[in-house]
Amino acid sequence: MNITGIGHIGIRCNSLEETFEFYTKGLGGEKAFELCDEDGVPYLTYIAMPGGQFVELFHENYTGDNKPQKRSFVHICLEVEDFAKAVRQLQANGVKVTSGGDGSPLLEEPFEERTPDRCGSLCAFVTDPEGNDVELMQFTENSKQIKGGKFHV
């Protein structure tokens, strides 16, 4: 199989404008292009995230309540270079940063002293206006994502 990486995640939006603002002004993505129907009406907005991957925003509603207890999708995760700096930047962009995702407590200072999770990486979360969690992760020298570890299932 010649899969080379994650290309994009496609999200349907009940709050299109807010979700667009979240991924652009909030997380630092840039509008890359739109796809339009025969009448010239956009049905899909592509947002380029740093690193050459995309978030697709479908101009399409969903009928479920998008609660994590009812869905298979848990979160997407963005790698950050400097955890504390990224958290402060996102807060400055008006994004709420939490310790564990939607409904969990706000991440508390000092961000520099955040303890790594069991995977060895520094983690925090933001949640988009649709209720999709987006994890922030800085790898450390102990990250199992880099070093690997026991694999038993």
Binding site: I6, I11, G52, E56, K70, H152
Partner: protein, 171 residues
């Protein structure tokens, strides 16, 4: 302003029952070819926290909680041995993986017994390698799969006309 973020590093799914978790591992490891990277185990505290928050956990302490499988260096799918039943039509439509050569990928998937669709599975059009296939509106070749938990998976090969590639290379 975008400097703090380097890129998308993983996507994660609740798999449902322990049997579904094994099916999901089979799909992402044996069918899509992602490499086992590491697992974490459940303990009592983790299970209690999830159950209190309304999540289904059938596994016991000491059983596998999370399995990370590697797509390429630094990119992963994270599978949770819990969750479900999955209900309703929710926000995330699909996750898309880039491939070098979509025909080869489709041939391999069909050989491994994976159903491959021209569009989303709900449209009911199996991918026919015998028919000429044209790129989508974005200029890229695509096909669709469905994982055992019911998540739509897209595969995409960028071409010289891909709007995605034009954007990436224009930066």
């Amino acid at each position: 302003m975008s400097e703090p973020i380097k890129g998308l590093t993983h996507v994660s799914y609740f798999c449902g029952t322990p049997d579904k978790f094994k099916e999901m591992l089979d799909f992402y490891v044996d069918k899509l070819g992602f490499a086992p990277k590491f697992t974490l185990d459940f303990d009592v505290g983790v299970i209690d926290n999830y159950r209190q928050a309304g999540y289904a956990v059938e596994a016991a302490p000491g059983d596998t909680w999370i399995a990370y499988v590697e797509i390429c260096p630094g990119q992963f799918v994270e599978l949770f041995n819990m969750g479900g039943p999955f209900q309703g039509d929710n926000s995330v439509k699909h996750v898309c993986y880039t491939v070098e050569d979509i025909r080869t990928a489709i041939e391999e998937l069909l050989d491994r017994g994976v159903e491959v669709w021209e569009g989303p599975k709900s449209l009911g059009k199996p991918y026919d390698l015998g028919e000429p296939h044209s790129p989508g509106a974005c200029g890229s070749y695509t096909c669709f799969l469905e994982d055992p938990a019911g998540n739509e998976v897209e595969l995409m090969e960028y071409t010289d006309r891909s709007l995605q590639r034009a954007w990436i290379e224009g930066r």
